[in-house]
Symmetry: C2
Subunit: 346 residues, 2 copies
DNA sequence: ATCACGCAATAGAGCGCTCTCCCGGGGCGG
DNA sequence: CCGCCCCGGGAGAGCGCTCTATTGCGTGAT
């Protein structure tokens, strides 16, 4: 192999100055004579020097790395590990989260390490990773609100920010969406369209967001004189949306408006409705949630409640960064407002 | 804040042994008296010791981290950075790649750092990252085959493995698919079904995989007495599939069989066909490529050429690991065989 | 009883960097 | 003209770990 990589020492010798001076130039601190600065820069260029990050981290106690943790309950089978990862990324939602996070981190030279915490063992690995100082903090996206990871992180006093409010209070900052308001928008829209027999496909009810969306939908309808709302629980997947819609139709054939707790399930609902001879939106109007890429991909295009995921994710990253910088010390929660995007399905 | 984290020294004092002995226990090497071993373990438990990775990396010159680089040409706008990330993850293909890679890395305690290299600047960042020793090697997934990153990595003698063969030879290992064989399967299937007027929606022709799939399709048809095949070039996106199919139909209304170079475009093709009053597969048969999640999601479910992406990704990770371990020194390429999955669309 | 040998455990030298402390010299006020 | 301060630059002490060289000790052969 090639000889060992050049060190500060080498550059210093090459430039005829001390190690400390080179270090100052590299890190751009303190006043260094511009002439010498140029001298050093040239020496760096000549030697092809790249500062060893392990050595730097050892003294600064910072790695400029954050753990991007996708947390939740996966199956515990052997294949569970990558199955969980594949399943997570099958939902365009996470792609948007990653996009938002990366958009914030990159300009600041922070790097995300991808981790999955779908089992107790995996959670322990995340904690160890942080304790070993391999990452400065964690960005946690939970798929279940009873996820134990946030509490573990808080107990260990490890810096972390959550996407979505945890089910039981934990002293960690988080970003979230006003899910109730989103459901309210959907309900108002369906009512304004003239729908009279409304039903909803909820998300998994062990997820706080699902509960909120359901509660918001019910509240609004109740206020408009619809005390009873048929509900079918789904799992945020296409298949579960299909099953839920079929179930709903069996129980309430007269349904003329459906609110699905995410776009994937709304798509499933549309498929079932068409198969059963209902036109969307003429016979049955469908409103989704998220405004993910499939909202414009599927036919008819979905009317949906937009969640500014990228923005939320970027904000989450910013919160963590502020905590790490010490700029922000108090636990903070930021709640975003959804908005309705009207397309074809309702 | 809490007092500083316990170090080897602390554990050693607690256990009444030397630093070196604790180190041996932690790393599980050399013969250590079982009694002392137990003593040390207990001390570790009591102090809550977690070895500082920066310090370890400094001497071992290993980080147990690999860069997972998604490379290719993104737009260079301000929003380009996260737009690229979001776009990449909008394709379920990458979710599968990540799943396969993570499945291999995790059991080996290797961690992936997510990086995007869609511009010259971003590529330089990747190189610097590796040169600084922040990652031991790189796994590169290019979206374009004329991607300059592989050559840069090879020139810098940085360990890396590619997903897909680069357009011009580069001394780096890679995994790939026998794209021609896949296209051959699609062609044979369409012909066997009785299709007479075949056309194809290719991928972007600056991608080697697209060229191969097109060439394979053409070759097989030529061998069966179809020297001319209408082609519309797409960009692997839904929209481009829609546009390509519309174009094809305008030029050749009699088309009764279509091979799309990926599932997303096949889905778009199906939508256009339905909108234009063609039944799939009765009037026009459609074959996709990848066997991604949308192949079973969309209606009709797609007949498609299966690419064992997870397996390929895992193999890519394994190749890199072998290179890093020094177990494998020669540049290696592994080519996987595709298979046809028959569903409803053809 | 003496000595060579092997094995467990220690001492201590780095790995490459940052950062505090210190020094020397030039500018300026008294 | 002298003393003080400030600023550019250097020396050197670690950061926490690994690993080589070395010590100490018990064992078996002589």
């Amino acid at each position: 192999m090639s000889r060992r990589a050049p060190t500060l020492e080498d550059v210093a010798r090459e430039a005829g100055v001390s190690r400390a001076t080179v270090s100052r130039v590299v890190n751009g601190i303190r006043n260094v004579d511009p002439e010498i600065q140029e001298l050093v820069r040239r020496a760096i260029g000549r030697t092809g020097y790249a500062p060893n990050r392990a050595a730097r981290s050892l003294v600064t106690r910072r790695t400029e790395t954050v753990a991007l943790v996708v947390s939740g309950a996966g199956d515990t089978s052997d294949a569970g590990q990558n199955a969980f990862a594949a399943r997570v990324f099958a939902d365009p939602f996470f792609g948007r989260v990653v996009g938002g996070i990366v958009g914030f981190l990159r300009p600041r030279s922070l790097h995300p390490v991808l981790m999955f915490a779908e089992s107790a063992e995996a959670r322990e690995e995340v904690l160890t990773y942080l304790r070993q100082g391999r990452a400065d903090g964690a960005l946690v996206v939970s798929t279940h609100s009873d996820d134990p990871l946030p509490a573990l992180l808080a107990d260990a006093r490890l810096p972390a920010v959550l996407f979505a409010r945890p089910s039981r209070p934990v002293p960690l900052s988080y970003v979230d969406l006003a899910h109730r308001d989103g459901a309210h928008l959907a309900a108002e829209h369906l009512l304004a369209r003239g729908c009279r027999q409304l039903a909803t496909i909820s998300g998994p009810l062990d997820v706080a967001a699902s509960q909120e969306r359901l509660a918001g939908f019910r509240d609004t309808l109740a206020r408009h004189g619809h005390p009873y709302v048929p509900v079918a629980e789904g799992g945020f997947t296409l298949d579960s949306g299909i099953a839920a819609m079929a179930d709903l139709l069996d129980r309430h054939p007269g349904t003329d408006g459906v609110f699905a707790a995410n776009d994937l399930m709304a798509q499933g609902a549309c498929q079932v409705l068409r198969e059963r001879g209902r036109r969307v939106p003429e016979d049955v109007a469908v409103v989704g949630f998220d405004d993910s890429s499939i909202a414009v991909t599927c036919r008819p295009r979905l009317t949906t409640v937009r969640q500014p995921v990228e923005e939320m994710a970027a904000r989450m990253a910013r919160l963590l960064d502020e905590h790490l910088q010490g700029v922000r010390t108090e636990v903070t929660s930021v709640v975003f407002e959804p908005e309705l995007v009207v397309r074809e399905s309702a």
